[in-house]
């Protein structure tokens, strides 16, 4: 079975993160790939999404601990620190809560391609939109 939430990943650069069953619906986890922290979400519809774990507005690596939701049809993640809301599809910051991101950090999130292959979840840091 292959469930893709984003563009397909390159077999060579993708990294195995965990078993799909280890993910609880709507409850994010963090993953460490090299030095990069990734926030990983399995949504209620079964899709899996990965974005940077770094919250641009606080500078803390916490997005995996935010609340998932939707704005219109877009699945979202809200930062647990100052409650900004980001799209899980393209990383756009949808609600800034009238705040500026930390100096030198873009307000939108980097989205990482995810594949679920044979019950295993892979993230591809090299790939991307």
């Amino acid at each position: 079975m292959t469930t893709t939430a984003s563009a397909p990943t390159d077999q060579a650069t993708r990294v195995l993160v965990c078993a799909y069953d280890r993910l609880t619906p709507d409850l994010g986890v963090a993953a460490l790939i090299g030095d990069t922290q990734v926030a990983l979400f399995r949504l209620a519809d079964g899709s899996v999404h990965a974005v940077q774990n770094l919250c641009p507005f606080s500078g803390a690596s916490v997005l995996s601990r935010g609340i998932t939701g939707t704005r219109g049809d877009v699945p979202t993640i809200a930062s647990p620190i100052y409650k900004q809301v980001f799209s899980l599809i393209d990383g756009t910051c949808l609600v800034t809560m009238d705040k500026e991101p930390q100096a030198g950090i873009a307000p939108d999130l980097v989205v990482h391609p995810v594949t679920v292959d044979n019950g295993q979840v892979y993230i591809d840091l090299a790939g991307g939109p």
Partner: protein
């Protein structure tokens, strides 16, 4: 550049405040500089609310005007500045210190002074008047000191049975003195109410323990052995023992400055002004109680404010004139409603009176109507003045077929609903018409009560018109097709309170069922925590049970408080702030072992900062093993019950405040609510626990406990208001059980108790009726709900430690569970660590990285 006009205002009272505020609001180009010279040692304050000084309000809470107003560069306020002379020729005023203030325009707002009749003994120690904060502060000191000396209740007497006299009688009672009102006329409040009303009023007041003597002329105040007020003698030969006497025999305008300056004076005093508030010197206006307008000085705030607005308007080139005074008044004296409005004494030729009296309930209501019994002219309401807000603006309007319906008790059949004409005056304090409120909605786009208040000032003074303002606003919004939206978010149309009862009634227990039934979509960061909180309030199940973990807000999700760098703080419960030495040592030991920053919180416990997600279970295991439990510092739930040391150690304490605090904290621990809840308990009136800054404050009295509710710190601090007095311990629990449960069921998302209480229909009074008199018939249900909460409490951390599945959530990385977050960085400060700032990280000043903070476990 145009020249700035120098305005000098003499007197720093209520009307001076209104003048200054209106000028700053309306003088858009800043053409006027205002200097306010006030004799009192403080900025203008709300004299109307003076009596609340005795229910514990700070003098600062009575202040009028935002700090910005008095800091405005175009406003200068001099306190302690008694003006002694007006020099009309030089256009200057001089104060007692010899300072001179030149003016282009002078505004006299010197108000009135409390008049006492020339009577033998009127100058004895123990005789007071009732006009300023200093007056009431002196009265309080005296009564408290006498109570100590005499070791029996202080005997108080108030001479004068008008509005002020009844306020003063209430104040004496509030100070623990007995009080007798001595009235020369044949009834109380003879200026406002007729005979029938006066009798109803006497009965109600006497029921409250205040004695009333009408038709009594006081002749002299005789000293006791120590030379202080000791005895009253009356014209009929009677006598009465007293320890303290208050004169409430009326006020006289403070017109001496105008008199000496040669301005025209009214027959009975006051500086004569025309309908534009100008005196006979075009460079001088007079406003407020000192002004004799249309032949009389008026002792009410509403006409004074109108005059202030007119004076401002005229200075800015406007054309407004004084419309005549509305002498309507609604008062709450000692908890008794009294209102009179319009032609209350039926002096219009041919006027009819329609009276409803219920002597048992102590209610008297009268409407004065035109001879065809249709048009309202005025009325008197004693005992139940709930119809006042709707009736007063109806003066001059048609009451419809059945005016008598307006007199029926609240709740007996529908009150007729009549659309108010635009010109009807809804807020008489600030002179706001129904039209102005409609306009705020239709033209200014206001959609809530706060907006309408800010835009029109309606309801910002005495507040009695708020229910009506709300109604007019609602109708207007409806007409404009604007839905009054209480919707939680895009997924739920309902308000939190509606959703609460929907969930309760449907008995649904999971988010997915709830959103399927009552909402749309998948939810979001607004509705998920709100529903998690409702479910927790209703069923008290574990916050991480079933699908709940994913619903919880940041902190509840891992049962710790997330800090700015993504680490957490840990706070074990310390009920009432009482802690065993071995627990103190354990907390210190844990802090050392994990390198946590420690700080004592405002809630009398200890906060340990800097714990990483994956460290939380091992830290909690040590705490739980030693018998400590979650302090819920992370929850929208009961936080702490702060207490003073109380009667067990303190020399002044009258009750065991620590024992009460512990009992309360154990009773309500774990209770989830729309926002955090804090309680406080003080062992005597000295209030060392600052309990009135809490959602619920319990303060010991000689006879039991007083309960105050709705205090909040934070952004807009509020002191808690008195709910009940002198109740025993069991009642304390019952009252707080109901108050909290009712709040939990009906408040909005993230609404704290203070705004909830304020916005609740009918305010605190209505809440008191719900929980003390069971006016909604829900008390049994509230009691049962709280009992269920108390029975089903479990320590949520202990439960998690026993559950491997939930423990799995406390890992740093799904693929590297033992690796700490590599981005954390700390520096040392005062012997402990704190998160490094961005520049410290860059400069490499970082001293401590997480891997060097290893744990001994």
């Amino acid at each position: 550049m145009t020249e700035t006009k120098r305005i000098v205002v003499v007197g720093g009272g209520m009307v001076a405040h209104r003048f200054t505020e209106a000028m700053r609001d309306r003088d858009a180009d800043g053409q006027h500089h205002i200097t306010v010279l006030g004799e009192e040692p403080r900025a203008p304050y709300d004299r109307v609310a003076l009596t609340s000084y005795f229910t514990g309000k700070d003098p600062e809470e009575l202040s009028l005007g935002t700090p910005e107003l008095w800091d405005d560069p175009r406003v200068t306020l001099h306190r302690d500045a008694l003006v002694t002379r007006i020099d009309r020729e030089a256009r200057e005023v001089e104060d007692g210190a010899g300072r001179r203030f030149p003016y282009d325009h002078l505004v006299m707002a010197t108000g009135s002074y409390a008049w006492s009749p020339p009577m033998e003994g009127a100058d004895l120690p123990g005789v007071f008047v009732y006009r300023t904060i200093d007056d009431v502060a002196a009265l309080r000191l005296y009564v408290e000191a006498r109570a100590k000396e005499l070791r029996r209740p202080v005997r108080g007497a108030v001479i004068g049975g008008g509005l002020l006299g009844l306020e003063a009688a209430g104040a004496l009672q509030g100070l623990g003195a007995t009080s007798t009102v001595i009235q020369f006329a044949d009834r109380l409040m003879n200026l406002q109410v007729d005979e029938g009303g006066g009798h109803a009023l006497s009965r109600l007041i006497e029921n409250l323990g205040v004695s009333v003597r009408c038709n009594t002329a006081t002749q002299a105040i005789k000293p006791d052995k120590s030379g202080r007020a000791g005895r009253l003698t009356f014209a009929d030969g009677g006598e009465m023992l007293v320890d303290v006497v208050i004169f409430a025999t009326g006020v006289r305008p403070r017109d001496e400055l105008g008199r000496e300056a040669g301005l025209a004076m009214g027959e009975r005093g006051g500086v004569v002004v025309d309908d534009t508030c100008l005196t006979d010197d075009p460079a001088i206006s007079a406003i407020g109680e000192v002004a004799c307008i249309q032949g009389a000085c008026i002792g009410l705030i509403a006409p004074g404010n109108t005059m202030a607005e007119i004076a401002v308007d005229r200075l800015l080139g406007g054309q407004s004139t004084f419309p005549g005074a509305d002498t309507s008044a609604k008062l709450k004296l000692l908890g008794v409603d009294v209102a009179s409005f319009g032609d209350a004494f039926a002096q219009t030729p041919g006027a009819l009176e329609l009276v409803y009296a219920d002597p048992v309930a102590g209610v008297y209501k009268k409407l004065v109507l035109t001879d065809d019994a249709r048009t309202l002219l005025g009325g008197i309401l004693v005992g139940d003045a709930s119809a006042y807000a709707s009736l007063r603006p109806m003066v001059g309007s048609d009451l419809g077929e059945d005016p008598a319906a307006w007199l029926l008790p609240e709740g007996s059949g529908e009150r007729p609903s009549v659309e108010l004409p635009d010109e009807a005056n809804v807020c008489s304090c600030n002179n706001v018409s129904a039209g102005a409120i409609r306009c705020a909605v239709t033209d200014e786009g206001c959609t809530d009560i706060a907006g309408v208040k800010a835009c029109t000032k309606a309801g910002t003074s005495c507040g009695s018109c708020l229910p009506l303002v709300k109604k007019i606003m609602g109708t207007e919004l409806e007409k404009a097709g604007i839905e009054v939206s209480n919707a939680l978010c895009e997924h739920f149309d309902m308000s939190r309170a509606q959703l609460f009862s929907a969930i309760q009634v449907s008995e649904l227990r999971t988010f997915s069922e709830i959103i399927e039934r009552f909402g749309v979509g998948r939810g979001c960061d607004l509705c998920k925590p709100a529903i998690a909180s409702i479910l927790a309030s209703l069923y008290n199940e574990h916050v991480l049970a079933q699908d709940r973990a994913a619903l919880q807000d940041t902190n509840d999700r891992v049962m710790a408080n997330m800090q700015k760098d993504g680490t957490y703080s840990v706070v074990p419960r310390v009920p009432g702030g009482e802690i065993l030495p071995e627990h103190l040592i354990l907390i210190g030991q844990i802090a050392q072992d994990y390198g946590l920053y420690t700080k004592i919180t405002g809630g009398q416990r200890i906060d340990l900062f800097g714990a990483r997600l994956e460290q939380l279970p091992s830290i909690w295991k040590r705490l739980v093993d030693a018998g400590m439990e979650s302090g819920h510092a992370y929850g929208k739930s009961l936080r702490t019950v702060k207490s003073c040391v109380g009667s067990t150690w303190c020399r002044y304490g009258v009750q065991d405040s620590v024992g009460m605090a512990i009992a309360l904290e154990l009773r309500y621990r774990g209770l989830r609510s729309p926002h955090k809840l804090k309680l406080g308990v003080s062992g005597c009136a000295r209030e060392c626990a600052e309990a009135r800054g809490k959602d619920v404050g319990v303060i010991a009295t000689d006879k039991g406990w007083n309960i105050y509710v709705g205090g909040n710190g934070g952004f807009t601090p509020k002191h808690a208001q008195l709910l009940v007095e002198d109740v025993d311990g069991a009642t304390v629990f019952q009252v707080i059980d109901r108050y909290l449960m009712y709040y939990i069921r009906t408040a909005d998302r993230l609404q704290r108790t203070a705004p909830w209480q304020e916005e609740h229909e009918g305010g605190l009074e209505a809440i008191r009726e719900v929980i003390m008199e069971d006016s909604l018939g829900i008390c049994a249900d509230l009691d049962e709900h709280m009992a269920r909460h108390i029975d089903s409490y479990e320590d949520e951390w202990k439960a998690v430690l026993n559950d491997p599945e939930r423990l799995a959530q406390f890992t740093s990385f799904v693929n590297a569970p033992d690796q700490p977050d590599p981005s954390l960085a700390y520096v040392e400060q005062r012997g402990q660590r704190r998160p490094a700032t961005a520049s410290e990280r860059e400069s490499g000043a970082v001293l401590i990285a997480p891997s060097t903070l290893e744990v001994r476990s």
